[in-house]
Symmetry: C2
Subunit: 144 residues, 2 copies
Amino acid sequence: MTHFSVDSVTESLRQEGLRITKNRRGILECLFAAKEPMSLQEIQDSALKFSGTKPDYATVFRMILLMEKLHLVHKVNLQRPCSYYELRDPHKHYDHLICKKCAHVVLIDIPCPIGDTEQKLAKKYGFSDLSHSLEFFGTCSQCV
Amino acid sequence: MTHFSVDSVTESLRQEGLRITKNRRGILECLFAAKEPMSLQEIQDSALKFSGTKPDYATVFRMILLMEKLHLVHKVNLQRPCSYYELRDPHKHYDHLICKKCAHVVLIDIPCPIGDTEQKLAKKYGFSDLSHSLEFFGTCSQCV
DNA sequence: GTTGCTGCAAACAGTTTGCAACAGT
DNA sequence: ACTGTTGCAAACTGTTTGCAGCAAC
């Protein structure tokens, strides 16, 4: 199993029969360089820095859609008007801490507190195949 | 402290200097009758059954906006194209379990698994005034 | 009577699509 | 050469606002 990187994702895309264009490489590189989830707009602007050409908004949209279907990218609910996306290594778990004032997003790295709750819920409510989305909101030290 | 009900909320609104119109009463009644979070569209349609007149979409929008500001209503992230809202008794806690197939929403009534995680996070990341939003997704027994 | 509420209709913003030209394989 | 990808521009959808007439207080 390879390390989750621009190259490994490129390889996954190629396996799907997809073409690796300058645009797509740029988008991938900017996603891997990102420190926080990005909007399509931000990805578009940032991709320019990586590939030298600014992909069309629709191109970014279609690329992200594609990656979402392949579970390489995930939509994060930041309670803002547009959608934000981040790469997801399928072997890791992600929860967020979001500042309500400056909108700064921190990836939490304490053990996920959900633990065996999912199994309890599955049993109690007759659901299967459970997953969850957990976001914390608060005020960061800069904004107090 | 009064029971959370159409009347208690009506009273809160009145205290804010707001007028209680037929529209507003209808919207309140339909929210209290709701078993799941509702979209503005659904609220508009349902209010008709309660007050006899169908409020304009903009009226529903402004009423919900108002109630959101007063923390009487909360937006729920169901990962669908439009927003969904539910009443919130300020003294209760709400987490959801959502079926990915039929979109059925269940309010969870097990103790919230987040427990003291918020305090830990506050300490570790220097955040204050923490809250969270937690949604579980899965497949309900009808949809397996 | 005053002031807030409502319906209407138009403006907005983010998202999504169709299509002809283009580029990766 | 073939077929997937791109940019452009337009269509869509949900959200938000301005305003004149109406209704609660």
